[in-house]
C-alpha cells in the first residue's frame, strides 16, 4: 500500500482554481508544487475580479458624490483622477497577489515560475527565462488550472493590436473620450458602466437579442434601461462586420442592426465577447488529455482522459467564474489524494457588478419550466423595501422560483443594489435543498435589503406582506 501522505502533486496555474486546489492538497498531506507563468492569483487577482471591482467601486463613489445632494450633503466639484484610480487598483492587486504568495508559503507549497507543459503522464516540463530548455518535474498527480484568455470573433480587423481586451483596458494610463465595446456580456457591461461614469462616451454592440442573454429576461430588460439612462448607447441584435483602425488612431466599427448598416467612430474599441480556455501549447495531446470545443473534457471527479491528470476552472469551460474554479480545485485535490469527491455545482452564484447589480443562482424561469412539472414564481420589487428607499436605490427586484410539489427553491434572481452580497443566502438555500418555508421561517433583519428575499419567498406561501 502506497503511503499517501507523501504524494507529489503538481498544479499548473496559480489562479483561484490552482492556488485553492494547492492549499486543499497540502491540507490533505500532499507535497505540492504550483507552477505559474505570470503572477500568482491568475486572471482573478491580476486581470479580472479584483482590479475590475476596484474600478467599479471608484465609479460608484463618483456617482454617489454626484448625487449627494439627494442625501442632504453638498459637495462642490469632484473629478476623476484616473491615474490615482489605477494606482489604487495596482496597490490592491499587489496586496492580493502577495496574499496568495503568503498562503503558498504558509501551506509549504513550492512555487515555480515558468510556463509548464505536460511531457509524460506524470511529468511536467517548465520553461522560464532562466531555463530555456526547460526543467522536468515529476508528480504522482497533476491538476491543470491554466485558466482562460480573452476570446475573439471572426471579423475583419479584429486582431489589430489597437483592439483592446479587458487586459489592456485595465492598464489604460488615461481615459479615452469614447469607446465602442463589442459584446454586451458580463465583462462588457461592467467596463461600459465604469467608463461611462468616468466620463467616457460608451457604445455597446451586442449580437444577441438582449445584453447578458443567459440571465433572466426581466433582469436584462431592466438593466438595459438603467444603463441607457446613464447615457450608454446599447445596440442589440447587432452584428459587427468590420473593425478599422484609422490613421488618427481612432477606431471605426461597422455593424449591421435591423438589416441596416451602421458605423461608429470612437477613440478606442474593446473586444469583450467572452473568454476561452487557455489550453494551447501545454502538451495535452502528448499525454492523451482530450478536449472538446476548446475545453478540457473532465468527469464529475474532475478527471481528464489521462490517468493521474485532473483539470479544473476556466480550462474545462462551463461558467467561467473564480468561485466555480475554487470549488472544482478543492474537488480535484480531494480526488487526487484518494478521497472520492463528486463535483457539486448545484449552487454556483452568478454575479455582475453593474449598478444595479445582478446576482442569480440556480435555474432561470425557462430552465425551471423545462425541468419541473410545475413551478411557482414570486417577485418582490425593491421599490417596496424600506432600506432601498433609504439608500435611494429602488431599482430592481428579488425573484424566487420554487417547484410546486415540495416547495424546493430552484432558482433566485436578484437585480438591485448589493445583489451580489444578498445572493449568498440563496446559494445556501439551494445547496441545502431548502424549501421556501425555511426562508419564510427565517427572521431577516430590518431594515435591510435582505427583507426583499423574505417577502418574495412569502409570496410563494399565501402572500407578501409589504406590498
Amino acid at each position: 500500500m502506497s503511503d499517501k501522505a507523501s504524494k507529489d502533486i503538481i498544479i499548473i496555474g496559480g489562479g483561484p482554481g490552482g492556488y485553492v486546489s494547492a492549499i486543499q492538497a497540502a491540507q490533505l498531506g500532499a507535497h505540492v508544487t504550483i507552477i505559474e507563468k505570470e503572477n500568482l492569483g491568475g486572471t482573478c487577482v491580476n486581470k479580472g475580479c479584483i482590479p475590475t471591482k476596484v474600478l467599479v467601486h471608484s465609479a460608484g463613489i463618483l456617482r454617489d458624490i454626484q448625487h449627494s445632494k439627494d442625501f442632504g450633503i453638498n459637495v462642490s466639484g469632484c473629478s476623476v483622477d484616473f491615474a490615482a484610480v489605477q494606482a489604487r487598483k495596482n496597490k490592491i492587486v499587489k496586496q492580493s497577489r502577495d496574499g496568495v504568495s503568503y498562503l503558498m508559503r504558509k501551506n509549504k507549497i513550492k512555487v515555480i515560475e515558468g510556463a509548464a507543459s505536460l511531457v509524460e503522464p506524470n511529468q511536467v516540463k517548465v520553461k522560464n527565462k532562466n531555463n530555456e530548455k526547460g526543467e522536468i518535474f515529476k508528480a504522482d498527480e497533476i491538476i491543470i488550472a491554466t485558466g482562460s484568455e480573452p476570446g475573439s470573433i471572426n471579423v475583419e480587423g479584429i486582431n489589430h493590436e489597437a483592439v483592446l481586451t479587458s487586459d489592456e483596458v485595465l492598464n489604460l494610463k488615461s481615459l479615452p473620450k469614447s469607446i465602442v465595446i463589442i459584446g454586451g456580456g458580463v465583462i462588457g457591461l461592467e467596463f461600459a458602466q465604469v467608463l461611462q461614469r468616468f466620463g467616457v462616451s460608451v457604445t455597446i454592440i451586442e449580437m444577441m437579442n438582449h445584453i447578458i442573454p443567459t440571465e433572466d429576461d426581466e433582469i436584462t430588460k431592466q438593466l438595459e434601461k438603467a444603463l441607457s439612462k446613464e447615457g450608454i448607447a446599447v445596440f442589440t441584435q447587432a452584428q459587427v462586420k468590420k473593425v478599422e483602425i484609422l490613421e488618427t488612431g481612432n477606431s471605426k466599427v461597422v455593424f449591421d442592426v435591423n438589416n441596416e448598416a451602421k458605423t461608429i467612430e470612437s477613440e478606442k474599441v474593446m473586444l469583450a465577447v467572452g473568454r476561452r480556455p487557455a489550453i494551447k501549447n501545454i502538451g495535452l495531446e502528448d499525454v492523451g488529455v482530450q478536449f472538446d470545443k476548446g475545453c478540457i473534457v473532465v468527469d464529475e471527479y474532475m478527471r481528464t482522459s489521462a490517468p493521474g491528470i485532473y483539470a479544473i476552472g476556466d480550462a474545462v469551460g462551463g461558467v467561467m467564474l473564480a468561485h466555480k474554479a475554487m470549488s472544482e480545485g478543492r474537488c480535484a485535490a480531494k480526488n487526487a489524494m484518494g478521497l472520492k469527491n463528486i463535483r457539486n455545482l448545484k449552487s454556483v452564484p452568478r454575479c455582475i457588478w453593474t449598478s444595479p447589480e445582478v446576482a442569480s443562482v440556480g435555474l432561470t424561469e425557462k430552465e425551471a419550466r423545462n425541468l419541473h412539472e410545475s413551478i411557482e414564481i414570486s417577485t418582490f420589487p425593491f421599490s417596496a423595501n424600506g432600506k432601498s428607499r433609504i439608500i435611494n436605490d429602488t431599482n430592481g427586484f428579488v425573484k424566487v422560483i420554487a417547484e410546486t410539489k415540495y416547495g424546493e427553491i430552484v432558482g433566485v434572481h436578484i437585480l438591485g443594489a448589493h445583489a451580489t452580497e444578498l445572493i449568498a443566502e440563496l446559494s445556501l438555500a439551494i445547496q441545502m435543498e431548502a424549501s421556501f418555508q425555511e426562508i419564510n421561517e427565517t427572521i431577516h433583519p430590518h431594515p435591510t435589503l435582505s427583507e426583499a428575499i423574505l417577502e418574495a419567498s412569502l409570496g410563494l406561501e399565501g402572500g407578501m406582506f409589504h406590498i
Partner: protein, 403 residues
C-alpha cells in the same frame, strides 16, 4: 479523524459474532455504505457497511475471528491518518472501549449515522418532506451528503428501491395469503391458550372405556328425559353426570393452582367446550353434582344455545372445576386438550369405535372410547389423576352406579 469500524449489535441477544469474510482490502478506498465485511451471528449472516468515506485501514481482526459486539475491527482513514496507537492493542477492556468509542464519536462529529437518535437525523428540508410524504423512516436511508447528510436524491433512490422490492413481495404475498381480521373471541382464545400452554406443565393420562353399557342406559333413559325436559338426552349430559360424580368421590381433583397457593373449590362446576362460528366457548354448568340428569340436560341445552348465540354471561363462563371436550362427533380417536385456565385438568373424549377386545379370554367386539385427561402437574400428580380417570371409567362402564 479516523472513524472506527465496530462489530455492530444486530439484535438484542447478540453478544458476539464471527467475521466471515473481508470484502474490502486494506488500503482500498470506500464510500459511506460500502460493504466492508460479512458477519455471522447465531441467527443471521449480516453485511456490515462502512460508516464513512475514506481508506480502509489494516484489518484489526481476520476472517474466522469471533469478535465481541462493539469491538473495533478496523478504521476508516483520511489520507495521512494512521490507526490510533492505543487501539491496536485488542486486549484492552471492551466495556471501556465501547464507552470511549461513543464519546469519541460524539466529540469528533464523525459521520456514523446509525448512532444518531431519529430527531437528529441530518437531512435536507426537502428530503425530510419527501420522506414524511411517503412514510419513510429516515434512519433507513443512506445519506450521500456531507457527513452522511441525507439529500433529496438519497430519499428518491430509497423510494425507487423500496417500490421495486415491495411491489414484487406484495404481489407474491397477495397470491399466497389473505389477511383475516381478529375477532375479540379469537384474540381471547389465543391469549388464554398461549398462557395455558406456556405456563402450565401438562401431562396426559389416557384410558380406553367400553361405552356399550352407557349406550344401553342412554337408550333406556332417552324417552323419560325428553318427556321431562322436552330436550334430547345426549352423551354430553351423561358425561357431565359421570364426571361430577367422579369429582365427588375424588375431591382432591377439585383444586386449582394460584400464585398464592393451591385453592380447593367448594362447588363442582363442569365446563363443556362448545364449538361456535370461528371459535370456541366454554359455558360452565354449576353445581352439577346436585342436579339430576334431567336438570343437567336442560341446563346444558340452554347454555349451549346461548353460547351459539353469543349470549353467555361472564359468570356462565367461569368457575369450572374442569372442562369436558368431546371431539367424538368429528371422528377423532384421541386428543390431548390444553387445560382451560385456571382449571387444573381437562377431559378429552374421542369417538366410539367398535373394536375387538379380550373379555374373559375371548375376543369380543365392543364399543371402545378413548378418554384422555390433561392434568396440571403443578397441583396434581399421576396417582390422583389416575384414580379420577378410573372413577370415570367405572361409572361409564357401570352406569347404574350413578344412582
Amino acid at each position: 479523524m479516523p472513524v472506527e469500524v465496530i462489530l455492530p449489535k444486530i439484535d438484542e441477544a447478540m453478544t458476539e459474532g464471527k467475521i466471515l469474510e473481508w470484502l474490502v482490502k486494506e488500503g482500498e478506498e470506500v464510500e459511506a455504505g460500502t460493504i466492508l465485511f460479512t458477519l455471522e451471528t447465531e441467527k443471521v449472516t449480516w453485511e456490515v457497511e462502512s460508516p464513512a468515506a475514506g481508506i480502509l485501514s489494516k484489518h484489526l481482526a481476520e476472517a474466522g475471528d469471533v469478535i465481541k459486539v462493539g469491538e473495533i475491527v478496523a478504521y476508516i482513514l483520511h489520507a495521512g491518518e494512521e490507526i490510533p496507537q492505543a487501539k491496536e492493542d485488542k486486549t484492552s477492556g471492551d466495556q471501556e472501549r465501547a464507552q470511549e468509542t461513543t464519546d469519541d464519536r460524539k466529540d469528533a462529529g464523525t459521520p456514523v449515522r446509525v448512532m444518531l437518535p431519529s430527531n437528529k437525523i441530518k437531512a435536507s428540508p426537502i428530503a425530510k418532506k419527501i420522506a414524511r410524504d411517503h412514510h419513510i423512516d429516515l434512519t433507513s436511508v443512506t445519506g450521500t451528503g456531507p457527513e452522511g447528510r441525507i439529500k433529496k436524491i438519497d430519499v428518491m433512490n430509497y423510494l425507487e428501491r423500496d417500490k421495486k422490492t415491495s411491489e414484487t413481495s406484495q404481489g407474491e404475498e397477495k397470491q399466497r395469503t389473505e389477511y383475516i381480521e381478529l375477532s375479540s373471541m379469537r384474540k381471547t382464545i389465543a391469549r388464554r391458550m398461549t398462557e395455558s400452554f406456556q405456563s402450565v406443565p401438562h401431562f396426559f393420562l389416557t384410558v380406553e372405556i367400553d361405552t356399550g353399557e352407557l349406550k344401553y342406559v342412554k337408550e333406556k333413559l332417552a324417552r323419560s328425559i325428553e318427556d321431562i325436559t322436552s330436550r334430547r338426552l345426549t352423551y354430553t349430559d351423561l358425561f357431565i353426570k359421570i364426571v361430577s360424580k367422579s369429582v365427588e368421590s375424588n375431591p382432591d381433583i377439585n383444586v386449582q393452582w394460584t400464585d398464592n397457593g393451591i385453592v380447593r373449590l367448594n362447588e363442582i362446576n363442569i365446563g363443556i367446550a362448545v364449538n361456535v362460528d370461528n371459535g370456541l366457548v366454554v359455558p360452565v354448568l354449576k353445581e352439577t353434582s346436585k342436579k339430576s340428569l334431567a336438570e343437567i340436560t336442560l341446563d346444558r341445552f340452554n347454555l349451549v344455545e346461548r353460547a351459539r348465540e353469543g349470549k353467555l354471561l361472564p359468570n356462565e363462563m367461569k368457575g369450572g372445576s374442569l372442562t369436558i371436550s368431546n371431539l367424538g362427533m368429528y371422528g377423532i380417536d384421541h386428543l390431548c386438550p390444553i387445560i382451560n385456565p385456571p382449571e387444573s385438568c381437562i377431559l378429552g373424549i374421542g369417538q366410539t369405535v367398535e373394536r375387538p377386545v379380550s373379555q374373559n379370554g375371548e375376543i369380543v367386539i365392543r364399543p371402545i372410547t378413548k378418554f384422555t385427561l390433561s392434568i396440571d402437574h403443578r397441583v396434581l400428580d399421576g396417582a390422583i389423576g389416575s384414580r379420577f380417570l378410573q372413577s370415570i371409567r367405572m361409572l361409564t362402564e357401570n352406569p347404574l352406579l350413578l344412582i
